[in-house]
Amino acid sequence: MAQTIYQSFGYILPETVLSVFFILTLLTALVGKGRSKYLPAYTALLGFAVAGVLVFLQLGTDELVFSGMYAVDPFSWFFKIIFLVTGILIVIFSMQSRELEAVSTKYAEYYSLIISLTIGAFFMAGASNLLMMYLSLELVSISSYILSGFTKENPRADEASLKYVIYGAFSSGLMLYGISILYGLTGELNIYAFNQALASGTLPQVTILVAIVLMLAGLGYKISAVPFHFWTPDVYEGAPVTVTAFLSVTSKAAGFAMLIRFFKIGFIDVAAQPVMAGMWELFRGFNWTDIIAVLSVLTMTVGNLVALWQSNMKRLLAYSSIAHAGYILMGFVTLTDQGISAMLMYFVAYLLMNLGAFYVVMLVANKYHTEDIEGYSGLGYRSPYIAFALTVFLFSLTGIPPTFGFIGKLYLFAALIHTNYIWLAVVGVLNSVVSLYYYVKVIRNMYLVQPEDKTRVDFGFGTNLLMTILMVPNIALMLYFTPVLSWAQHSVLMFGLR
């Protein structure tokens, strides 16, 4: 049910609160300078917590607000939780990062940018209007350009942010051009109305294809799908680890949220029965899912193959995250509820394992001053707990049984088999096999290579605790994942479907 503008404000309370805390965090620069280095971080955490409470209060809401601009529905709710959890974890990681100490005078700005990126991600997840999509994407992008170059004394970070901003601006330019063509065809910016316009079936297919391919360039850049992925490894390697971890989850998840909503709402004939069968009724002319399938295959294959050759841990994880975007895209190919719920489940797994892995990378960089895989030699002897945790995360990333990553992949494959995309499932499995090689390389280095220096390096109780908090769900959710599953299954509901 559409809400009036005035009523609508009630539905964006979490976003409003985040915006307020964005400014408050910024203001801590004036108040707390030199007094408490953690003040901005705590403010940001408080902001995330308050927003979290407000988001929880929206459980089950299914509304379209601001005259069709923004959907507050279970689907976006799912992603908002993901963003908030990621945001909180990233803030905590950042508090421990040595890398960021170089810019300790600008903590307030740093944490406020993390909030602003999260605000952008919130709007991306709920945007149901092309303008909103573009604006929220830009908010995420601009925040991430700045964040990735935040340690500006570090030339690598500078390079990362330069490449990121050029590539990002170019991609969003393509996307905007695509939007303008779509607007010309339908006269609509709202994706629901857009669907209606498409329902007439008289629109020229080729023109729509042009528009969609251009939009894909923008969306593909956010989710780093091949061939729009090239910026990813460079930016991930150059940016501070915490920022890389943040981008790899929040920015990517937001991109996926927007992609799913755009295609699912905009292009699926809601009147077709069954609605969720995933038929692209309006486009019998070309097989749309094949585009996504091809992108998915390319994405995971390129990600995995190039990852084989990496020696820098951050870069390896960057390629691995590209490959994971490919896996997640597999679920999108099906366009069924089952496929999308599998994607959502995979996001939970991805959040846990990817953030965990990056956390280890950050800790190792803190104490061992290395990001090289070679530098991980003997980690199993020197910091057994951290090494064990990384092993769990890497297993989960590979999708080996006693981890949640396995369940995530299993559900993706099941969805594919269900819709008869067996070849794609096979490609996915082969890719997982390839990925095993480079993940195990790291594990082998940690355990089979004896370190020259055998002194133990401990990380303290708090770190171990946080590590445990990240690690336990990776295994526990393998044993009992029913809650996540039912959450994901409920979250495929977007406003306007059913």
């Binding site: 503008i5 609508s8 964006i12 915006s19 964005f22 400014i23 910024l26 607000v65 601001f66 005259s67 601009m69 923004y70 600008k106 700005e109 406020s112 940018l113 602003s116 605000i119 952008g120 709007f123 209007n129 303008l131 909103m132 604006l135 929220s136 830009e138 908010l139 601009i142 925040s143 350009y145 700045i146 170059g149 935040f150 500006k152 004394e153 942010s161 063509i181 010309g184 065809l185 339908t186 006269g187 020229p204 080729v206 023109t207 042009v210």
Partner: protein, 168 residues
């Protein structure tokens, strides 16, 4: 050919030629000036499209804002080089090829598409309805844009600011 058409062609050609100047000029200052003319041309096209408010915005923001920013950028970094000695990584031919294919495809597709069109409505003032829309249906993007500008502002400041420590 009526005056409208002639005006259109004049400004269209101005825009395109200036744009060519922007991307082909070797001197960055010339390029910047070409960009100025391209912006003016686009603004004029807006006027032809009865988008008066937008035309003013274009001139104010682009010419007054973005272009000045660019010129500042040019001046601040000009110590390095004014003139591009060599092209970027791509030689002219492949670049022309790619841009050409895209241009050809776009022109081909866009001109052959049957756009949903109606008779031209008479000119209406646009500033008022745009303002009204910004405060009603588009209030959320409006707020979002304000956050975005704030973020950009902060970002630009912290990234561009010279560090005291470095100078010392």
């Amino acid at each position: 050919m009526n005056w409208y058409d002639i005006t259109f062609y004049v400004f269209a050609i101005l825009t395109v030629v200036s744009a060519v100047g922007v991307v082909f000029s070797r001197n960055i200052v010339y390029a910047a000036f070409s960009l100025l003319f391209a912006f003016f041309g686009v603004a004029a096209l807006y006027v032809l499209l009865s988008a008066d408010f937008l035309a003013i915005t274009q001139i104010l923001l682009y010419v007054g804002g973005i272009l000045v920013l660019i010129v500042f950028g040019v001046m601040l970094t000009t110590r390095a080089q004014k003139v591009e000695v060599k092209r970027g990584i791509l030689s002219v031919v492949p670049a022309v090829l790619i841009a050409g294919i895209i241009a050809g495809t776009l022109v081909g597709v866009l001109t052959t598409t049957k756009w949903p069109a109606a008779n031209l409505s008479p000119y209406e003032e646009t500033a008022r309805p745009i303002g009204a829309l910004l405060m009603t249906n588009f209030v959320l993007p409006f707020e979002l844009a304000s956050i975005l500008l704030l973020v950009a502002l902060i970002g630009a400041v912290i990234i561009a600011r010279r560090e005291k420590a470095r100078r010392a």
